[in-house]
Amino acid sequence: MSPLLEVSGLAKHYPVKKGVVIQKQVGTVRAVDGVSFHVDRGETLALVGESGCGKSTTARLVLRLIEPSAGTIRFEGKDVTKVEGGAMRLLRRRMQIVFQDPYASLNPRLTVGDAIAEPMVVHGIGNAESRRAKVHELLRLVGLAPFHAERYPHEFSGGQRQRIGIARALSVEPDLVVCDEPVSALDVSIQAQVVNLMKDLQARLGLSYLFIAHDLAVVKHMADRIAVMYLGAVMEIGGKNELFANPRHPYTRALLAAIPHPDPARRGRVTPLGGDVPSPMAVPPGCRFHTRCPFAQARCKQEVPALREIAPGQKVACHFAETLPDPGLDYSGGLTEAAAKRLALYDAARRKAAA
């Protein structure tokens, strides 16, 4: 069976123009530069990377909120890159998006009930009566109450607004939900609530997620597979356990090493990656990471490394992936016994209170 979503060679190049009357193209921003991946039914693929790596642009391309410059997007094996009009609308019903900023993504003048029902109206699903019933069901599903439908977005906290955003995305019963940094703007305790909710909903409804994030700890918790992006291209893709245990790309290693650990005993053990991400207008030749790579050699400056399979299900775009030294990553030694015991008591007390 073909995967739910399959993207190959996807690119988005923006021309940079100069001049007011007579415009001349002076450069190209290569926001997304030949990206390939697939998402299976019921799984979560996370796209991670730092700002400017093209992960959000990729998300918008997949939904065709912007048009790609090159490449194909297949949904259930069917090329959707050229689909237009009514057929596209039908397709959109099956792919929804949850945005990062729950403050900006809800219309302040619509009640929550109207906001959640809006996609159903657009797609002509049901009548007013059935839509109202569906809104109530969705509100309960995301941990809110039916009476919240009459209220306006400003009456809700950030976490509640994100729940509303999720309910709206689910209103048309999509197969694929693109989540663009859905918890980045939330406080940690609220972040955990929303992450739990998203995992519950996935298990219940069999959803597939394309999960865009920069927080690797959250990604490790949410994802089945992870694609690491840098300057518009995928550097490494693989199952999350393999990727965390044995990262093969120097950039993946640098990202993993840079995560601050909640353990003061291991402070300052890593040497941070030097430099900044280059501009997407001037992508370095050869391997695009070579300007910051501690292992770069002459070949890396000339030859673009292909994304190649290095282990079953794990692909890496690095000439020297086989010969890199041991990454020396160590996630162990986290919680002490006392802390773990109290966390277990906390969890038990929470469950008891909820029951």
Partner: protein
Amino acid sequence: MGVMQPDLLRIEGLRTVFKTSSGLVRAVDGIDLSVPRGRTLGIVGESGCGKSMLSLSIMRLVPPPGRTVEGRVLLEGRNLLELSTAEMRQVRGGQIAMIFQEPMTSLNPVHSVGRQLIEAMQVHSPGLGASALKDKAIAALKRVRIPSPERRFEEYPHQLSGGMRQRVMIAMALACEPRLLIADEPTTALDVTVQAQILDLLRELQSETGMSIILITHDLGVVAEMADEVAVMYAGKVAERASARALFEDPQHPYTLGLLGSVPRLDEERERLLAIDGAVPPPFAFPEGCRFNPRCPFAIAPCRAELPPLREITPGHQAACIRAPVENALSLESAA
């Protein structure tokens, strides 16, 4: 100079309130803290816990209608709250400097980096000539490891990356050799690899200059990387105070436990995160009793009646919770 005190800064009973139409907002509600010399105090909490208002209260920059109504802020024994406006201006940027989350909004977009650096330096060292100031500014950029500082001196903020801008802010903050740097979420807007660079830089600069740092953050990982002492804040009050080691090895307050449980860990696989139920209450409607009680799974009747004071659990480790340590409280209950 008198006897050398171990603490550079002591905060005693600090209280900052806002009179609003929805009621009295107790943003900072009776806080006691101290910052040892040459060390870092981490202040952790979620939005609305009062951590930023605490730092503005120290600097006497609380925006109206907010007012600091009680307490003392002692910098090397001198109460900042009693200084004249002119004296306080000498303290700000002189003895205490501050950096913020978003360096772009703290820098003026229409002036070059160099001009802004010189402006900050002029205030505290008048009488220095133009070329001496320029040399000093370039040295300041070099000190925060900015490559080709002579070129950066001429550039404008929009030409710099987020990490470079934060370096410029740090250079500016350190220009007058402050004794205390208040860093309010200094790496929150930065990417993780750049965050690691900036934290590294702050640690190096601290060991070079011996300054103290108050690091305000929501990220327990950043606290573990940087802090010697930690205060966990919730709803305007300190919930727990300990050395960083003790806080992570022996967390006491249920709120601290909830925060630790909310962060996915890299060393373990769990289906669900612990999370904390509910949300931070709005500051004009704090609950009766312990402010955390509506969200606390261990809360009992007395928690709803009375505000728990900070009490010592082990030497140097305090928690504002009558249930801590929770295993003792629970085993007493099951025995009864």
